[in-house]
């Protein structure tokens, strides 16, 4: 499988071409966690993670809740 380069939370990150978001989340050990994900600042619904494929230079952001006021 070809490797592509994406940007993940602001840093370059290698990924397999044709990976879905779901597969990326699993590979990162984040399955089942309370998260939100965007690709190029477009929020991707959890139900769409499994059919959204990564493309070269995609900017992925994965966020979670932390303490704040």
């Amino acid at each position: 499988m070809n490797a592509i380069q994406i940007e993940l939370n602001g840093r370059p990150h290698p990924a397999d071409a044709n990976y879905t978001l779901q597969e990326l989340v699993a590979k990162l050990g984040l399955s089942g966690k309370s998260l939100a994900i965007s690709i190029n600042r477009e929020v991707i619904k959890r139900s769409d993670w499994s059919n959204r494929r990564l493309k070269t230079a995609d900017r992925i952001e994965i966020v979670h809740a932390i303490g704040g006021g």
Binding site: N9, S34, V63, H64, A65, G68
Partner: protein, 270 residues
Amino acid sequence: MNLNDLPAGANTDHQLTIAGKTYDSKLLVGTGKYKDFQETRDAIVASGTSIVTVTVRRVNIGQHQDEPNLLDFVPPGEFTILPNTGGCFNAADAVYTLQMAREMLGGHALCKLEVLGDEKTLFPNMPETLKAAEALIKDGFEVMVYCSDDPIQAKMLEDMGCVAIMPLASLIGSGMGILNPWNLSLIIEQTQVPVIVDAGVGTASDAAIAMELGCDGVLMNTAIAKARDPIRMALAMRDAVRAGRNAYLAGRMPKRFAASPSSPMAGLAT
């Protein structure tokens, strides 16, 4: 009369209704700056709050994937989670952050908008706040908005459809208390949706003063988290908000310059 026989309504009205939903406390509490998640939870439980603010940040990729998550300690099933836009300095970032938060929390619409002006004061940038509020409301959010204590801007936000107006009492995290009660009073007097003092409360008396002015609620974080004993301060804040509300409803005596004896002068045994 015994304490149990208080007339109906004499010790009620400690709930808060926002956007048609009623919560059991007029105190809203942040989750930042605590020692750890357990202390966060303990303070929140002690405060009696129903609404807990959180913020949204990038996950640390590749590190500690089994580390505990804040939402395991303050679960959305037990508290209403109010995502904020802390750290956002323009409308676009604030809107994006809340769209991410909405997805993370399974679609709930209630949010706290704050668009900051600069790092030194964390004063709200009101033009960007108005812009973000408009976009969020259009997108279906129920916007509780951190704002300056300017009645004109507060009115604009209310007219736009914000579900709570949340002026600062003094700078975020400063603990300086209620610095301009007159402006807060002007906002309280004119506003039909809840007015919640957001920022500046330092200790229990500050919370009581905010409530005595007629605020519908108080939102705080540092005053509890950075007290020497956060759990005890959370209890103090719970009591102060209730005491302040009761004092407001009871109506304070008029101030007077002359003394007025509480014991009658007549009939003194001499």
